[in-house]
Symmetry: C2
Subunit: 294 residues, 2 copies
Amino acid sequence: MEKIGFIGLGIMGRPMAKNLIKAGYELKVYDLNKEAVADVAAAGAKACASIAETCEGSDVIITMVPNSPQVKAVVLEGDDAVINHAAAGTIVIDASSIAPLASKEVGEALAAKDIIFFDAPVSGGEPKAIDGTLSFMVGGPEEHFAKIYDILMVMGGSAVLVGEVGSGNTTKLANQIIVACNIAALGEALVLAKKAGVDPEKVFQAIRGGLAGSTVMEAKAPMMIGQNFKPGFRIDLHVKDLNNVAETAAALDMPVAFTDLALAALKELQADGCGSLDHSALVKISEKAADLTL
Amino acid sequence: MEKIGFIGLGIMGRPMAKNLIKAGYELKVYDLNKEAVADVAAAGAKACASIAETCEGSDVIITMVPNSPQVKAVVLEGDDAVINHAAAGTIVIDASSIAPLASKEVGEALAAKDIIFFDAPVSGGEPKAIDGTLSFMVGGPEEHFAKIYDILMVMGGSAVLVGEVGSGNTTKLANQIIVACNIAALGEALVLAKKAGVDPEKVFQAIRGGLAGSTVMEAKAPMMIGQNFKPGFRIDLHVKDLNNVAETAAALDMPVAFTDLALAALKELQADGCGSLDHSALVKISEKAADLTL
């Protein structure tokens, strides 16, 4: 069984690491947060004091950090970075959701040292990280995918190789565009219905079985109608992802009008102090426009 | 069994009327298009030469015409209008998709003559009209709903009473907002992915099972990827519906930013000569922006 180094023990990384331990993998773990390291060590991992120590003897290194700058800092930058301590032939899997161009940059730098790289962002959030049922969207070299598949399937319910390095995060961005716009449109529709005097719960029941039906509607309409915005997936994180969409689209010279509108709405919610609410709180933009709550 | 007058034998009305005939209802039918009248008469209806003749002896009158002005023309305006020929106690069911405010106007005018009115727009399009599996979104008086339920269920697979007169069309508008925005976001996401070098089919497979999954994605992603824009539901009709959203929102003094963006995209497609294509052709807006086709 591969020896795994795991860097980044936040809300997602911590349960992912624990599932690997439960599955019998030998884990070395590192995070700036010592409490998180101690917690995962208590579950059976070896606590490390540096990235260098985490890399030592690891066949596979998994990173799970907030965004592109943190991935670059951990993997590429500074004396303690992965690139300076992982042996040739090591496989690095970055499960963070970051900009695809950053993934490519990391992959190219690692390739120059014969280190294999996959970007493998997830969807599913904390509950599926705990259950080990995340969905991995994976970009990287097909000839090495079989080597990481079993590891991913300990943490996830599915792992789909979609293309070269960067493709995983491109797929994640596509996912986040659709989710944000669908939530925003659902909010606009339900609020308009209520403003016109129709019970939003009845609207939900009448349309959920038709072409308007979606996983977003099933998950988020009850939250909107119940005014329950406990995350789930936070506005702050969705802003991060759509900022990565905007950056990617700009680099490709492609206008993304729906993303821009959704991102503006999400940023308005941040400015209103709602950044830590579930993204279903996008309904608040329409509620404010209509001067009512669902 | 109720005697039914059916006015409006277009793409939707014709199969709806035929399903009522098959179910054993005695039907009188009328349309400006004599060929359509002859076709439905051949299936067993009595052909009428006027609205007045269609109303004579009918317990229930069903209208299925393009938009608000046509409903008002048929039901309220002129010597031959329904309001001048339907007996007190008659039930009028308007299955057209129109502005909720127009439904209310029609309902109030009919109520003054003791004629009962329901707005009952449908979703499902021609295939479900033929199969008798339309979804009816119904607004009108609860105490009379039971009298029309069996009739609706001949033409439909579901019929949900959502509120007072106008509520059916408000619900339909909510449905159309969500569908349009979800299609547009799907197009933007898949085109961005392809622009970034990822196979849109693989993106679809990787994300369909997650939070981005929807009935729209299942129905429209393959059409977009296959560049097959055979309707289905035409751009022209979606423009009509979102114009009704815009009109309704303006009357309620509520901004609807996502609807506005989707409507602008749909109108751009009309200007490009794509009005008769399926609404999945919304992807063309993103394709134009990215200078590629899926």
